[in-house]
Structure formats: structure tokens, C-alpha cells
Symmetry: C2
Subunit: 235 residues, 2 copies
């Protein structure tokens, strides 16, 4: 049975790394003593070791040990035997590329579908969707595919941002970009604002946090979903 948290961000403004969601993580990971951390997305280009230390410090507060996947000789086996998995944020292209290079797409899908608890934040949440085609990140590497883990039947847009009506900048708004996405892709997109997350338990996918989420369905006007809404019918 799937047991997943898909969080828009690791950190909300004015709060420490994972601090806002630590109580939820105690529940998600209640049967795990040790969590396998996948640091491939390397935010700001930091090393796998430095990133893993950040995760380690945060999870020490709820008495969970962290092991970085790069510390294992065989990453597929590390995933297969993991008690729990956490994929951190950073660059979605770098993350996806490394998952393919290390043959981890199927390994993670299999583990999560058989019940290994999974936490994703930001890029680690993007890859829970059908594809990474709604990432906000810069395409700094060329992955072998944009297909992602497909742990939910739609796409995710983390760090969702409402249009700034005072802006004089002419770059596209997030809403325009997602509208363009639907010119070429059929699946719904969930725009998750910072501080929101999806709680997946088996076939249930519920929006959590205090905010609404923006839902984009092809051919429909975008709309808001209230928190505690069940989103498993979205596909």
C-alpha cells in the first residue's frame, strides 16, 4: 500500500529545514529507524555528502538515522532494502538524470508500491508525477527521458506561485506556462503552494496544509482545491 508525502517545499519562509512538517514525518516514518536519502538533486550544486548531512541533522530531531544512497555500492539494492526513502529538492533534471543512470526508476516504483514510505520535497515531489514536464527548474543537464515515477496519476508543480499583478516583467506567469503544457499534454497538474503537501495512503491522495492548491485540467478554467480535498479522482 502506497504511503507517501509529496511536499511542495522542504522549507517555508522563516523556519528551519523540514521543520514545518516534522510531526507529519514522524507519522509517515513511524516504523522506520533508518531512512535512505537520495541527494542527487544537489540544490545550489552542493555535494552529496553535504546534502545528506543536512537531512541527517533534521531527522535526528525525530530520532531517525539517515544513510545517503551514494554511500552504497549498489543503489538499486539500497532502494530495495530501504526501510524508508526521502528524495530531497534541488534540480529536477539533475535528479531525473541520476535516477535513470542508476537504474532507479523501476526500483523506487516497486519499493513504494509495496509499501516503503516515501517523502519527496520540491524536485523529489516533481518526480512523483507522470512526467517532469511541469518542473520550474533550469534544464542544466539532458536526462534520457522526462518520464517520472508516476506515483500519482497527474503532474505536480511544486513551489506554485500566483501571478504577481504588480510585476512589469514580461516573462510568462506560472499559469501561462501550465496552459502551454496543456497544448501538448493531457494530464492534470496540481500546483502545490509552499507549505502544502499531498498525503498518499493506498489509493487516497489528500491535499494537506493550510492553503488551497491550484488545479489545472486541460480545457477547463483553473480552479482551487480546498485543503483536505481528496484528489484521487483527478486523472
Amino acid at each position: 500500500m502506497k504511503n507517501i508525502i509529496i511536499a511542495s517545499t522542504s522549507t517555508i519562509h522563516g523556519s528551519g529545514y523540514l521543520e514545518y512538517i516534522l510531526d507529519e514525518l514522524s507519522i509517515l516514518f513511524n516504523e522506520a529507524n533508518s531512512i535512505l536519502f537520495i541527494p542527487y538533486a544537489r540544490p545550489g550544486g552542493i555535494s552529496h555528502d553535504a546534502y545528506t548531512d543536512t537531512a541527517r541533522t533534521a531527522f535526528a530531531k525525530i530520532n531517525k538515522a539517515i544513510k545517503g544512497i551514494h554511500e552504497f555500492e549498489n543503489p538499486v539494492e539500497a532502494v530495495t532494502h530501504a526501510e524508508a526513502i526521502f528524495v530531497g529538492g534541488g534540480n529536477t533534471f539533475v535528479l531525473t538524470d541520476q535516477l535513470y543512470r542508476n537504474h532507479l526508476i523501476e526500483a523506487i516504483q516497486t519499493a513504494v508500491k509495496s509499501g516503503t514510505p516515501y517523502l519527496g520535497t520540491s524536485a523529489g515531489s516533481n518526480i512523483c508525477g507522470l512526467t517532469i514536464r511541469t518542473t520550474n527548474d533550469m534544464p542544466i543537464v539532458y536526462p534520457p527521458s522526462f518520464n517520472a515515477l508516476a506515483l500519482v496519476p497527474f503532474n505536480i508543480n511544486p513551489h506554485y506561485l500566483d501571478p504577481d499583478t504588480n510585476s512589469k516583467h514580461m516573462g510568462e506567469t506560472r499559469e501561462t506556462r501550465i496552459k502551454e503544457f496543456h497544448g501538448f499534454n493531457p494530464q492534470p497538474v496540481v500546483g502545490l503552494r509552499e507549505g502544502s503537501w499531498l498525503r498518499v495512503s493506498g489509493d487516497s491522495i489528500v491535499l494537506k496544509g493550510k492553503l488551497t492548491a491550484r488545479i489545472f485540467e486541460k480545457g477547463k478554467t483553473p480552479y482551487e482545491a480546498e485543503h483536505d480535498t481528496e484528489l484521487n479522482t483527478l486523472n
Copy 2:
């Protein structure tokens, strides 16, 4: 001899399409009666016809005819025989994908290197760099490669935006994204603010417009280039 304008944007705030740069375009295109427009980037998902009409209206003001490349049976021949080329903005991934599918990368390179004047705005400027790996756009389609036209020896980041020091949003700033780019790519990046453009004449590449540009070189602190600076040494 190369004769190119690489503009950050087609439109600056409070002004019509191409209006701010029309005098420059009269000079760039002074020997052309007709301009081949490449509407593949489809901003907001509009049709090739509708987008071509927008370009047609703007260029009528300086008495230039516009033909959309989609009106030709053979796009490669259309490029080869064009008096001038304009590649409009929109989604860089969609644009790049269509250029590859229509076998236009080499055709455009050959035409521009033999002197066909070229205007790019936004996505049409992104593709003038070595790769599209510094685009701001959403990867809504998967192109066969991120390699671009390489008309200049560096990468372009159009619509360059300075960090908003008042923001409470935790998504990466543009500067952070380009720093991450340099973790995986060696080439310099020119961050072109809206209202700026690069004027390429043969081997010369000069920054034009009233603003400075932000230059990112791997391993160096980013710095500002003044307008009228020669950037051909950047590689």
C-alpha cells in the same frame, strides 16, 4: 558575415510588440523586403497563423512583408532562400523540438553564417546560444537534444531577473539556477535584462540597450557588463 540581433524580449512593459526596438530592426533588415517568420515557439499556445499575424502587424510599420515558415512546403528551402529570418519567443522546448523535427538547425546556421540577417526574441534568442540549458521555460515537450544554434560562443538567459530581496518564496533565484548550471557546464552565460539586446556583426558581439547585463563565468563571481561592451572575448 553574421548580422544578428539577440533580444531579451519582444515587448517591454507599457509598449507594443517590438516597438522599443523597431528603429534597430529597420537597420538590421534594411536590405530585406520580406522576412521569414518562425512561429514554432507558440507563446500561450497560439496557432502559427495567429502568431505570424502579430509579427506581420509589427513589421508593417517599417514596410516589411512577413511570411510564416509553416506556409512553405519545404521549411529547409524556405530558410535557405530567406532574405531575413525572425524567430519569435514562446516556449524554448517547443521551438527547439520543431527546429530538429524540420531539420532546420543546420539550415539556419548556414544561412546566418553566410549573412542572412537574423532576429531572435526571448526563446528565439535562447537558441542562439550553445545550448538551451539556461532557458527559463517549462519543459513541456522533450526535444531530441538541448544543443542549439551556437551563433555566439556562450549561453543566453533572456528575461534576466535580479533576485527579489523581499520575496518569501523559497524557489531558486535566477542567479542560483545559473550557478547550478555551472556545476555541469563550462560556458559563460549572458543574463540579458528586458530591453537589452546583443548586436552581432561578423565577429563583434556588442551589448545594446540602456541596461547592464549580468555575466556568469564558471568559477567567477557574477558581474555586470556595461552597455556598448564588446562581448566577443567571452568564451
